[in-house]
């Protein structure tokens, strides 16, 4: 089996450019995801922990990477997805998700994944393995 043309090494996925992350988004994601850690929604708690403000759930960014991937291929083809959380995403940040096919091996492609802030700071870095069919 050969990879489809849009899954060749070097192919860039259509970037996902997100709107600024509001406090409402953080509250909705806390409820919808099940991650109720107050560090993401309660500024009093965040300040007591030594932070200037709340910051986004890492898993919100990973969920955005999930959207990037399912825009690229039907979800049933995604075999695995791994990320390392490299930097905190502040509230009000505007993230961009990007992906690039880095390897093609028989019927599996590896996609490098990055989420970044407008100043170029990488917040998540990872990779997914996706079947070509």
């Amino acid at each position: 089996m050969t990879a489809q043309a849009d899954m060749a090494v070097g192919t860039e996925l259509q970037p996902l450019v997100l709107p600024p992350i509001s406090r409402t988004t953080l509250a909705l994601f806390a409820g919808a995801s099940g991650d109720h850690n107050p560090i993401h929604v309660d500024v009093d708690f965040a300040r007591a922990a030594g932070m200037d403000d709340v910051f986004a759930h890492g898993m919100l960014s990973m969920a955005y990477l999930g959207r990037l991937l399912t825009n690229f291929a039907p979800q049933e083809r995604i075999r695995s997805c791994h990320v390392r959380f490299a930097a905190i995403t502040p509230v009000h940040a505007s993230l961009t998700c990007t992906g690039r096919v880095s390897a093609v091996n028989n019927s599996l492609v590896t996609v490098e994944l990055v989420t970044s802030l407008p100043d170029g700071t990488v917040t998540l870095i990872g990779e997914a393995v996706v079947a070509t069919s």
């Binding site: 994601f29 995801s33 965040a46 999930g66 959207r67 979800q75 791994h82």
Partner: protein, 152 residues
């Protein structure tokens, strides 16, 4: 206070979760999902799904609502304000959908420190299966605990 390495190998309380379509739509709204496959049953069926699909990262949060939630950490003296998410991995075995009942079994597989104890890492594996035991996914979660009093 450091988490004892003796928790390595501990199985946390397993959790049985019914996947509700309304909850999946709420998750889709929270992440700004615009693909109707994740919110509209007709679109999901047209894409070959029997019900709304469980999106790629949704399984992560279910565990936090279980009996152990964050409590297994707070009972060990962990301050949630010093807790960070280090890494997360999903390995998928089969698609899950609204209407499925899933069983999550978390297990602590490693506890280690870096920077002379200023950072502590807890690695947890979670097996996700259906009630008949058929595999859905395996999750690997690495939590990072900051110990600000320790100069690393």
């Amino acid at each position: 206070m450091p988490v004892p390495t003796s928790i390595t190998g501990t199985y946390l309380t397993p959790l049985t979760v019914y996947i509700d379509a309304g909850r999946l739509r709420f998750f889709a709204k929270a992440i700004g999902q615009t693909d109707p496959v994740y919110t509209d049953l007709e679109a999901a069926r047209a894409a070959g799904h029997p019900q709304l699909p469980v999106p790629p990262t949704f399984l992560f949060g279910l565990e936090l609502e279980g009996p152990d939630g964050f409590s297994w950490l707070t009972e060990l003296g962990v301050d949630l304000g010093q807790l960070l998410h280090g890494e997360q991995t999903f390995s998928y075995r089969s698609m899950a959908h609204a209407g499925d009942t899933l069983v999550l079994q978390p297990r602590i597989v490693d506890v280690y420190t870096k920077k002379a104890g200023a950072l502590e890492f807890i690695r947890k594996h979670t097996a996700v299966t259906r009630t008949d035991g058929s595999p859905v996914a395996e999750l690997v979660n690495v939590l990072v605990l900051r110990h600000p009093g320790v100069n690393g």
